[in-house]
Subunit: 354 residues, 2 copies
């Protein structure tokens, strides 16, 4: 176990930049005093904020760069002008060089993914990375992936996602054989995208030993916690995540206005405010902020672009946990084992994975 | 305006069949006494239930058939053994022959869609049908389509969906120029599926006169009510819908358990129960039950397979409204107009629609 957890923080990412990211780091540091920070970005923007956060300042080193990736850059543009010198690149490079244990950025997802692949490279056997996140469910939490790293997925990639997601579940939830479902528009074998049905057929026939394949699940199964790991292609996964966030926001808004309508409802609200506090905490998207990039030779956490300081702290916490509990090494081992079996069994079943 | 609204009801569809569908029809009849029903299905199952519902019985005619489509039939199977004689087919056929104004079924979506296409045929200019539904939002309601009629969609189909959805919005919401958004995983023009970006480019450049194209929207924009019409391909649309339903269910469940925790929260609940009733009604999926099949020469409403009597009544209500306000004719006209413009402008813009 490492002595200190060294976090490389892209201080320029996201909609708010250093003014929100550094206070977020300060919150995370309170929770985990055994953390050190490398702060990458424009020192003229970082230092004034850091001067107001003496505790964080004492545990940080600022590495200046003028170059920051913009939120609307195409990945190819970002690579062209941001490679070697942008705050995002330098944070990833610190992980590559072993100067940091994890990189955290709230920057443009496409650019962060492109730079992560370019700099850290993929784990052997994985062709495309994935973004996985924890999704609060009625039973606790599930892992959902991919949430937008790749658009479209063939059956081989879906099987890779099952291997990566189940490895993450094994270490995070401490379950030897996590349950896995493929997200589809019906539980019947005859429905849905061809590649999803094909992945389902292969998983059913090969019956992998490292996870328990439970068949197709539907959108409402995610929140029910029907399986530990929900596997989907990145376009649908991203839309499902945001539709769920939107619905949670919408219900909160309805509830607030309904509770404010009469003296009785307002009094009821006061009496029950601890319950509303619990609900707010359960559904607070800031608490589950932080997508984990899977499949890379290094830990990269993507914080939400619009995250506030509390949300940023959650993303940093997730990075901290991944390092502290050596998840990367365990995931790498599990993935290698799963992939080996998946490849062998797929070959036996007709060679649908390459 | 027709004298009576004549509803052809597949009494065998759904998870519960006649025992739930007929009580649902009875509820709908109370709300709209100017309704008549043709009930298709096994009279040995229908008649005993109908005997307990004398009001419905007086306004119904039972058409016996032994054949019912199973919930897990493939569309091709259903067509093979259910054409000409199943309760689903006969309900659609009544619409085709002009004996009924609308068909309502809670049966297998794929089979209902296949039979609808085969029997009623598509409106000229539309290649593939769509399922549209009303989605409750913070601003009121939006129309979301497609929710699963077709898997995958090229740019031409997405533009058709925009035309059909905006036509439905124009008549249902009484807005001359509804706002339309394309569902994507980011609002930037560089993100997302190729065909979604291409549809966006064409709509932006051609700027259709009958709706107001607002660009890309994300999953959380649906519940915000950012646009009147959200256009998406059926796989992602279906998953978004069910993820949102699952989240609503999940929040309701958290809230119930939180309100039950201490004497203060329980008392608060009692005082504020009118607020919870309001919330329950706002989010009750039964109230917005009923997908409308668009693009066909006839009105077909798909009720949810698991709907209870109240949900069934909502689906029948939606069919009633579609007939009573002559939405089909208006939608047909609008679609023809939109398609004409879309085709012309797309040709000018490079011929991406055929």
């Amino acid at each position: 176990m490492p002595d200190k957890v060294r976090i490389a923080l892209d201080a320029m990412g996201g909609d708010h930049g250093a003014s929100v990211i550094l206070p977020g780091a300060d919150i995370a540091l309170t929770r985990h005093p055994d953390t050190e920070f490398l702060l990458f970005g424009d020192s003229a923007l970082i230092n004034p904020v850091l001067d107001g956060l003496p505790r964080l300042k004492a545990m940080s080193k600022v590495i200046h760069t003028d170059v920051a990736i913009r939120m609307d850059d195409k990945p190819s543009q970002a690579l062209r002008y941001g490679r070697w010198k942008s705050s995002m690149w330098l944070a990833l490079d610190a992980v590559k060089k072993g100067e940091a244990d994890v990189a955290v950025s709230a920057g443009n997802t496409g650019a962060l993914m492109a730079m992560s692949r370019f700099n850290l490279k993929m784990i052997a056997g994985i062709e495309r990375p994935a973004i996985a996140a924890l999704w609060p469910t009625l039973k606790g939490e599930s892992i959902v992936l991919d949430l937008g790293a790749s658009i479209g997925a063939d059956e081989a990639h879906l099987i890779n996602l099952a291997a990566m997601g189940s490895a993450m579940a094994r270490v995070l939830f401490d379950i030897e054989r996590p349950t896995v479902g493929l997200l589809n528009i019906g539980v019947e074998e005859v429905k849905g995208l061809e590649q999803v049905r094909e992945a389902g057929r292969i998983l059913r026939e090969t019956n992998p030993s490292h996870f328990d394949y439970r068949g197709f699940v539907e959108g409402d199964d995610i929140g029910k916690g029907t399986v530990d790991v929900v596997v989907t292609e990145g376009f649908a996964g991203n839309i499902a995540l945001k539709a769920a966030e939107g619905t949670a926001h919408q219900m909160g808004s309805y509830l607030r206005s309904a509770m404010n309508r009469t003296w009785a409802t307002r009094l009821g609200y006061l009496l029950a405010r601890s319950a509303f506090q619990t609900l707010r905490e359960k559904m607070d998207p800031r608490k589950s902020n932080g997508g984990v990039f899977l499949g890379l030779n290094g830990i990269v956490i993507k914080s939400h672009g619009g995250a506030d300081a509390e949300g940023t702290a959650s993303a940093i916490d997730m990075g901290y946990d991944m390092v502290r509990y050596e998840l990367l090494a365990k995931i790498g081992q599990s993935i290698a084992r799963d992939l080996q079996q998946a490849t062998e069994t797929a070959r036996l079943a007709g060679g649908a994975t390459s």
